[in-house]
Symmetry: C2
Amino acid sequence: MTRSIALFGTGLIGGSFALALRRRHPDLHVVGRDRDLEAARRALELGFIDTIAGSVADAVRDADLAFLAVPVAQMPGLFAEIAATPVPADLVITDAGSTKGDVVDAARGALGTGVARFVPGHPIAGREVHGPDAALASLYEGRDVILTPLVENPPAVVARVHAAWTACGARVTRMPVEQHDRVLAAVSHLPHMLSYALVAQIVDSADAALKLGLAGAGFRDFTRIAASSPEMWRDIALANRTALLAELDDYIGLVHGLRGAIDAGDGGALEALFDKASRTRQAWKRGEMP
Amino acid sequence: MTRSIALFGTGLIGGSFALALRRRHPDLHVVGRDRDLEAARRALELGFIDTIAGSVADAVRDADLAFLAVPVAQMPGLFAEIAATPVPADLVITDAGSTKGDVVDAARGALGTGVARFVPGHPIAGREVHGPDAALASLYEGRDVILTPLVENPPAVVARVHAAWTACGARVTRMPVEQHDRVLAAVSHLPHMLSYALVAQIVDSADAALKLGLAGAGFRDFTRIAASSPEMWRDIALANRTALLAELDDYIGLVHGLRGAIDAGDGGALEALFDKASRTRQAWKRGEMP
């Protein structure tokens, strides 16, 4: 059981993790650290951390679990700091990064054989608001968390991370790192790229103001994710480059085919594609799998 | 003022038009006609039509406004039937088709000089449910309606259609046919194609069930419109072929560029594109124009 956490990143993701675990384990001790000192102070005021760590060494000294909830681009630096610090023998480390291949590479590079204590993770949960005040004890309830255990991880180490997420109310799925990155590229990273691209196309075109003035509910939903953080999505696109490029290539090919069917007036091909998509989307909404 | 309407198509769009006008003009007489006799009977039960017309001639005999709310693919046949029928001298015709170039071509072809009485229109409003029971008197309140008047239309004819939509509570915008089709291709037709394509790509890929099982809120919103009617969108894609192909070509070019930036690790180019889209989408949500 987790008794003491080193929380790196005291915003929405880290804060919600601490709040959720504390609900189950009221005696849990949480030491927080954030590059943004204001965020750490606010986390202390809100009570989901007990102290602010002055250094990485202070944060992990008495921890049995370190939770890395920092932007993916900050992970390599954080792993390097942890590698340079004495840590408790039973310390387990996990993270909440949206991509896993690059985080695992950074962890292996910095920790060496110590990567055995690092279990990569990714909670599929979020909110449109961020920071300590956005943290919710219920954020992970009924949500999926993907763990991508490494060959170096002893089963007991994976089990501890798994149990922490279960205690948060999450549904844990395990898969290889590469599969995680391909799955997320398809259902999350690719749609973000496509949504950004549509808005960019419209704003740079003739009649942009007229178009935006007449855009309705379809545009609204399709482009909601185009309001997301440019920095975060730049980092994700680069971090998951290989899988995302494969998805983009498939997509460009598919849209080329769709273009050809429209050009050729091939109503049958269009209807078949739309019908397959429509039936799939309707089944998905009902909670059915293909 | 409109006193008597010939309503072709007694579903969501036509029914809502009749209900909205009747609220302002309680003495309005509505004659309904629908290829689906059950839909016409239900409209009669719901009271938004007063009689069911046995023929096109019966429908228009005493009408001063004919409202064509049938699928775009049925417009040519309906115009041909109207052309073959004696109509009142002051009859004005308008429609609610999602595309305008093809509808205008059909109207010109069938009506000849009689096209002067036809004012093309497109209400930017809808619901996810269809048919007579989905009709709402409030459907068009505060919504945009685009009219694309023809050079043949006398101003008084356009004014009558304009006034009918204003009486429904709509905000009327006028523009040329070609501009309407380009604007709608960009903000509506293109996103529908792209949303269908993403769902089709996922369902035909490896790990489809796993991907759909882990798809979150971003996927949900991006693909909501992929649940739309395959037949209707096949017809729209073909009807607005020219404008849609131009938008698709621009989009494929933009996504190619995005792909290149990811492949080259060009974070600056990615962030610039995402940032432009993100600021535009956020301003749009606040009701600001670029």
